[in-house]
Amino acid sequence: MGMQMAIRVFLPLLLLLASAEHSFSLYEDQVGLMDWHQQYMGKVKHAVFHTQKTGRKRVVVSTEENVIASLDLRHGEIFWRHVLGTNDSVDGIDIALGKYVITLSSEGSVLRAWNLPDGKMVWESFLQGSKPSKSLLSVLINLKVDKDNVILVFSKGCLHALSSIDGEVLWEKDFSAESIEVQQIIQPSGSDRIYAVGFVGSSQFNAYEIDAKNGELLKHKSAAFPDGFYGEVLLVSSDMLVSLDATRSSLVTINFQNEEINFGKTYISDLVEESSSNAVILPSKLSGIFAIKVDTFSVFIRVTTEGKLEVVDKINNAAAVSDALSFSEGQQAFAIVEHVDGKILLTVKLNHDWNGDLLKESIVMDHQRGLVHMVFINTYIRTDRSHGFRALIVMEDHSLLLLQQGAIVWSREESLASIVDVTTSELPVEKKGVSVAKVEQNLFEWLNGHILKLKGTLMLASLEDIATIQGMRLKSFEKSKMTRDHNGFRKLLIVLTRAGKLYALHTGDGRVVWSLLLSSLRKSGSCENPTGLGVYQWQVPHHHALDENPSILVVGRCGPNWDAPGVLSFVDAYIGKELDSLDLTHSVTQVIPLPFTDSVEQHLHLIIDADHHAHLYPRTSEAIGIFQNEFSNVYWYSVDADNGIIKGHDLKINCIGVADEYCFDSRDLWSIVFPSESEKIIETVTRKLNEVVHTQAKVIDGQDVMYKYISKNLLFVATVAPKASGEFRMVTPEESWLVVYLIDTVTGRILHRMTHHGSQGPVRAVFSENWVVYHYFNLRAHRYEMSVIEIYDQSRADNKDVLKLVFGKHNLTSPISLYSRPEVITKSQSYFFTHSVKTITVTSTAKGITSKQLLIGTVGDQVLALDKRYLDPRRSVNPTQAEKEEGVIPLTDSLPIIPQSYVTHALKVEGLRGIVTVPAKLESTTLAFAYGVDLFFTRMAPSRTYDSLTEDFSYALLLITIVALIAAIFVTWVLSERKELQEKWR
């Protein structure tokens, strides 16, 4: 009795203790022990060097991920970086006054200046215009008005001149009324006139001459070219433009600075013999020379002083050309990078002398980087006072490299800023042959380390000691080993990026173990625009076949449309070699990993195409055999958000008319049509396929049992009023609503439906076990809200005998029928939440015993861990004693944001897009990987590490305790012996 009483008293106390502490919290000196953080920028679009002045040499770049950053030219590290909004893509960057970085973004409507040394924004100007057009940015270095650089921006059909000191508009010239499509803004050096040139219609060429000082229109010339134009114009010299004619068979030179506009026409076939009509002018900013691409050739054409065109060179390999760079005494140089048998060849040439190579270097390049896409050059003064050149190159795999003196100075794997999908792979098992002793530190070192640590805890350590302790902890050799560990902390994160490159990252320290540019996801003749869709675990060798390597399936598609044919790649997860690749004849709309494996542990996958056929992979007869057995148990659903239809499917027979035994016809089982005038689907979420649920029963109030309704076939759907689905927050609460559904995807039955009046999207949701948590905006309160729905099975509600359940006598397989409505009850509750949310996910552990935490990616790019107990429909303002003992938290109207529970602590995962959680082998622990422009990985224990010692456990203290205890035993033994002897003598 007393014992029970003690437990009664003790348990709540323990719970209280546990709940008082935040389950995720970190000391500052623990940063980097379990987590790592990597900063990226994305594929570089523009780069501007800043190396003229003494001091730190830097390069400012803008990227496809809308990042502007200043990099250290010496090491490639980021000095500062800004991630602009998602629809604020950068159109151009430049440097003004030698101290401001000027960026034009948002289709030319926002011009910002950033302080070059520290990246602080200096000014911001909003440019208005009436019609969409090209966005052009140029800083007129030569033209000084009161020590000010004039910034010329053409955007939205309007030419603006702004002061670079404060962004004030100096003058404006509106072209929107003239129906001209301005192609170029030209400022001949040394003059204060600017020319705006462009086409009206397809054959009329117009040139406007404008005074750069005040925007006055000086002259307007116009001429028609009867053959018409194709594409854009390119400036080749101060007074000449080049364009293609409408048939793309001849080059047109346009001389626009004379009184009259003169056209000159040169047939491409006269210049290049075996040419087709698919010529393209390569965009470049050179003078006197330009390049066209004919078939696979890059042809360099020079403009002679008489205005004639002549071919100077023809390069057969894929090549990239830089813009012209002025260096000493008005000389201009440019760089060409081409691929020559496995190496890349960097050539820097003078503009006016094709044969005078200033530099010719060949550099060995990892072929996993693909082709050169862009090159930017910069000059420096060598020690012998001659000019040296360095080149910044952007590769096909989005990586950024600096080349100097024939070597790669630094490289950045910028592809990792655009992760598409993530999966994990186990590491190889430690081989018996490898001696552990060699790898482990010896005992003395180990003990020494722990004594140092003890010194640290006892505050006896000197500053030097503290530094060694910290260094020791961070460089822990254990965590970055290339073998599987006991706790399952070490894994490979296999990530697919938008560049079509696959990376394996080590969870211990985040280093790239291998990378592979997938040949199936590279641009080729048959596959014009390949995109990666996802990565799946293809082959996971079981315990009896540990010498085999696991493999990964990569699914992609040739082109942006749903009906583009698919591509598959199979990659070895340990060494990163492509084992096989398939060009599919069908498209890919859905990939369904089936829970069946064949004899070599290959997972069966079903790929659904745009015509609703199902294709089975791997294409082996064994797979067909396994699949035939489960044929009638395969169901799936499809969501057509545009038409508001959700359909359920199953398999019928082999495809009709196609001799392919791996192809199956599907049949529509059910469909739910949402009324298009009142509901629009904005979010659908299901449970993770591999989620483990420990128990179905939930004990309530100490006696009552509730059964969780656990089904893999539950779908959460959120719809909003169509009016509220478009522009954010442009509706009144009365005309806005959010409806959420729980749908069984086998039967198509709606198990639960709930309407939140006056609410709207965006909805972010996560589904786990028997609950859904979703985040939306409440227009009435004008705050974000999070709601939880829990669903329970009522059909077994009368089976409340806990003992039976414990001993497994309980009949858990109560009959389930398609025709009877499942008896379920749902419980729901809503809470306010402060922040906008980008993504939500939930922690997952090996056995599903550990309590769950939500991982919320906030708008500030941080990841917040929120205990699921805060989202419990049983929360009430005054919980009963029994509920308190259970750990039910008293109800509050908003969810707490505890700064210590940010798993990203003082870091940000800029541009956060997704969070992935993977269970470790240790039940208490889950691995979390957040990706966006940055990457962040950490290991977290949602209910603390109850099954292992914490990292800061002091072994030395334990040893000392044991030694002290043993000593005490001996002392007392001796004492008692002596006492006994004395007693006997007495």
Partner: protein
């Protein structure tokens, strides 16, 4: 085009009722308005706070990411071409907790902006955003103390053992032997074999 940052002053009304009435009247005007505001982080301009780089990474976010802008050196920010209606502005500054701000841009009275913090429903007279509190992301490591050692599992273990070794015999000695015998018999008759009734017996024998 850049206008001087003017903080639009809103009429001081008792907040909620008025805000709701203005919310209902948002016509579909396509002409954009400008929201100008200022972010003020107090500790920063007083003593620099030792984090000069931090302010450059402050973002101001309109409507959950629809637009993102940055702070100028003086802390001012602006959103241009914003349609009339109700908007939400969030400030993202690492180390500070800002309440989102509800901003009503009125089409009927152009240029009038009303703002209120959504966290505590306090209405703002000017659009000056200040953090509600600083955020401390790390636990503070407490300095070593004897108490923490005692409170640790090993400390508790030692303490318990000390109690058993030194205090228990003392307690036993003080007990009336007859009473103890009776208690022992009582326990035996209850038949609960537990550590509790073995212990005094053993202790008794050894003393």
């Amino acid at each position: 085009m850049r206008s001087k940052p003017i903080i639009l002053v809103l009429l001081v009304h008792l907040c909620l009722s008025f805000l709701y009435s203005s919310l209902a009247t948002s016509p579909g005007s396509s002409d954009g308005f400008t929201i100008n505001g200022r972010v003020k982080i107090p500790s920063m301009d007083v003593k620099g706070f030792g984090l000069p780089g931090k302010l450059s990474n402050v973002k101001v976010i309109l409507n959950g990411g629809q637009r993102v802008t940055f702070l100028r050196a003086d802390g001012f920010f602006s959103f241009h071409d914003v349609p009339a209606g109700t908007h939400l502005i969030e400030v993202d500054a690492l180390g500070y907790f800002f309440s989102p701000v509800r901003v009503d841009v009125s089409a009927r009275y152009p240029g009038k902006v009303q703002a209120a913090l959504t966290e505590n429903r306090r209405s703002l007279i000017e659009l000056v955003l200040e953090p509600l509190r600083e955020e401390q992301y790390y636990e503070i490591r407490e300095p070593f103390s004897v108490m923490s050692l005692v409170k640790s599992p090993m400390g508790l273990m030692m303490g318990f053992m000390l109690v058993v070794v030194f205090l228990m015999p003392k307690l036993m000695e003080n007990m009336d032997p007859e009473e103890m015998k009776r208690a022992q018999e009582e326990m035996r008759s209850q038949g609960v074999p537990s550590l509790a009734n073995l212990l005094p017996g053993g202790a008794g024998r050894s003393s």
